[in-house]
């Protein structure tokens, strides 16, 4: 696990910001919603970086902005196209023109949350998985592409003879495998998985997670793994970033963040996760947060978590903390810990 820390980054995100402007109605003032508010992180080669947080914290928006499915207002998201032995060749996805973007997207793909909504019901599985290759004109002839689709189906654990079937003929877990095969079709370096298992039943979740871990080992893939389920993230991630109100509040190796969480929000979040063991549950101390997340449109002066923080001090309401490394590998954005 520690080896990955020294490794070369493959994706470098700096000060990413996404803002949505609400033009306002007749009696409403226009407002700016800061969905992602200065997010920076490195993703190493062969690493899984877990991105966790509650709904509305900006984790999916971060993913979409990196892939330029949404326009970021500022910041950069660079991918290294050099091989492991070469010097890095950084390419900024956010600044690329149309042609460059097309080339870059081949190397960074997305797996969606909902395997029911993300597959076109009118296309056969073969066409769905083969489409990226057709778009990028890879593998020449139709027959060659078909062979490649069957290889991919086999790789993700689907029966290749089902190539002519339609998505509705598959179960949720199998559909998610189709989505994964489609993401693999262009042989990318980075895959962003946006809640890949949260729509699945628990007995099926682990099948899909095992598949992702196997693929990573086999293909040296790097994953950004977005999820709200911290138990799942812990199992698959090498490092974990916790987001709150559009900012990363803590970033650390997976074992550190679970053993020694520093940010008060991380602590509350971890203490709220139920553990399927009544004896452990009976002993646990919950840190209960009062209230809800503040609105993203409100201008917050100090720390964004100050309104709910159980350890809040006077200075937290006026001084905004910055994400900074406190112990090697562990960064936190909290005045009390720095």
């Amino acid at each position: 696990m520690t080896a990955s820390l020294e490794q070369r980054p493959i994706l470098r995100v700096r000060d990413l910001r996404v803002e949505f402007t609400n033009r306002g109605g007749l009696f409403e003032k226009p407002s700016v919603l800061r969905a992602v508010d200065g997010v920076s992180f490195d993703l190493h080669r062969g690493e899984t970086l877990g991105l966790v947080g509650e709904s509305g914290c900006g984790k999916s928006t971060t993913a979409r902005a990196i892939l330029r499915l949404l326009r970021a207002s500022s910041g950069s998201a660079e991918i290294d196209l050099g091989t492991a032995t070469e010097k890095p060749r950084w390419n900024d996805i956010l600044q690329a023109d149309r042609g460059e973007l097309r080339g870059l997207r081949q190397h960074i793909q997305l797996v969606f949350q909902d395997p029911y909504a993300s597959l076109n019901p009118r296309m056969t599985v073969g066409d769905i998985i083969g489409e990226p290759m057709a778009v990028y004109r890879l593998h020449g002839s139709r027959a060659a592409r078909r062979r490649r689709v069957q290889e991919l189906m086999e790789e993700v654990g689907l029966d290749p003879t089902f190539i002519r079937r339609y998505p509705h003929e598959f179960s949720g877990g199998q559909r998610q495998r189709i989505g994964i095969a489609r993401a693999l079709a262009l042989d990318p370096r980075v895959i962003i998985c946006d809640e890949p298992v949260s729509a699945l039943d628990v007995s099926i979740q682990s099948q899909v997670l095992n598949l992702l871990v196997d693929l990573q080992k086999r293909r040296e893939l790097s994953f950004v793994f977005i999820a709200h389920d911290l138990s799942v993230v812990k199992r698959v991630s090498h490092r974990v970033a916790v987001m709150y109100l559009g900012k990363i509040v803590e970033l650390a190796p997976y074992d550190e963040i679970y053993r020694n969480p520093l940010h008060p929000y991380t602590r509350a979040l971890l203490s709220a996760v139920p553990i399927p063991d009544p004896q452990v549950e009976a002993r646990r101390q919950r840190i209960l947060l009062s209230g809800d997340m503040p609105s993203l449109t409100s201008a917050i002066q100090g720390c964004p978590f100050a309104s709910r923080c159980p350890e809040v001090e006077e200075r937290c309401r006026t001084i905004a903390p910055e994400l900074g490394e406190v112990t090697p590998g562990q960064s936190v954005s909290c005045l009390l810990r720095q």
Binding site: E54, S231, R235, P276, D277, P278, E281, A282, L289
Partner: protein, 329 residues
């Protein structure tokens, strides 16, 4: 006398693909002031069971039969619709999964919460209003006097679910059925709500039937757990017992496949092979047999019934095989 007694309840739906036995011979007993958990994956029949008990499944299309559904000793199967309306929201209350679709977007929170009080208790609008303010305060909604006039869309998900709970508790029910009450919510809000439910139970002695797919939530909350698979209860036992000594292969596999926050190792996930059963085409024998690692020949042809694991034990399982002891390994 048990608060709720359900015996051999069957809810079938006739579909173009065949007969779906959504609930197939379920027995359930809830004592006053207790908390029971009904755990199962999607499609296992837990919500249909809940709706059938409440008399909210229309017949047709459903075909319902039961030896008994008794609430506070009163027979509910043959009860008239009018009588069920008197009970629902009054003696039996419910909280649903999605607070957005279960609140009326056209009515203010105050009006919606006052409705059960006016309908069941015949309270005047002013008196009901006072009680609603108290209720909102009790569920932890700040400035309840002001919030009365708000519409559901002005509330966050957590606040809406708290408002739903306030409404459910308005008439001080003897039984609260909470169907996945926290599934749509974030973990920190989930923790707040479960804490609140726990307080309600201690303060008012309300019995709670918690329907959930999350074993973790059930572990921390319930006295007793019933595990459902393909329309049947396959194991039921006191909570400590079922986690310490799961006796049905499905329960055991489920407990092993759930990632835990307090795991130390990063070993591969243990998964249950195969897929959840196709409800229109269940196997002849035990529904879990095709996915079971312990199946014997008998499981293919015969369907096991729910029986005590030992004489006089409160622990019941529906399985022919006696698993080796040893917790979740």
């Amino acid at each position: 006398m048990s608060l709720l007694e359900v015996e051999n309840l069957k809810t079938y739906f006739s579909t173009p693909d065949g007969l779906v036995k959504a609930v197939d011979g379920v027995d359930l007993r809830i004592e006053p002031g207790s908390t029971a958990g009904l755990v199962g994956e999607s499609g296992s029949g837990k919500s249909v069971l809940n709706l059938t008990i409440l008399g909210l499944v229309p017949t047709p299309p459903a075909i319902i039969s039961a030896d008994a559904i008794r609430f506070e000793g009163e027979d509910l199967i043959n009860a008239r619709a009018e009588r069920l309306r008197q009970l629902r929201g009054n003696r039996i209350a419910m909280v649903f999964q999605d607070p957005m679709t279960s609140l009326n977007p056209f009515l203010t929170i105050g009006d919606q919460l006052a409705e059960p009080l006016q309908f069941h208790k015949g309270q005047s609008a002013t008196k009901a209003r006072q009680r609603v303010i108290e209720l909102l305060r009790e569920v932890g909604i700040p400035e309840p006097e002001k919030r009365l006039r708000a519409y559901p869309h002005e509330f966050s998900g957590g606040m809406r679910q708290r408002a739903m709970m306030a409404m459910a508790l308005a008439c001080e029910p003897a039984l609260l059925i909470a169907d996945e009450p926290t599934t749509a919510l974030d973990v920190t809000i989930q923790a707040q709500l479960m804490e609140f439910l726990q307080r309600i139970r201690e303060k008012h002695g309300t019995a709670i039937l918690l329907i959930t797919h999350d074993l973790g939530v059930a572990a921390g909350f319930c006295d007793e757990i019933h595990v459902m698979y393909a329309g049947k209860i396959v194991e039921s036992a006191p909570t400590l017992e079922i986690f310490r000594q799961p006796s049905h292969p499905y329960t055991r596999a489920l407990l092993r496949s759930v990632p835990r926050l307090d795991d130390d190792e990063k070993e591969a996930f243990v998964s249950i092979r195969g897929t959840p059963p196709d409800m229109t085409n269940l196997p002849q024998g035990c529904a879990f047999e095709p996915r079971c690692d312990h199946a014997i020949e008998r499981c293919e042809t015969e369907c096991p019934s729910l029986e005590a694991v030992a004489r006089k034990s409160e622990h019941h399982k529906a399985c022919f095989v006696d698993l080796e002891p040893g917790a979740t390994s």
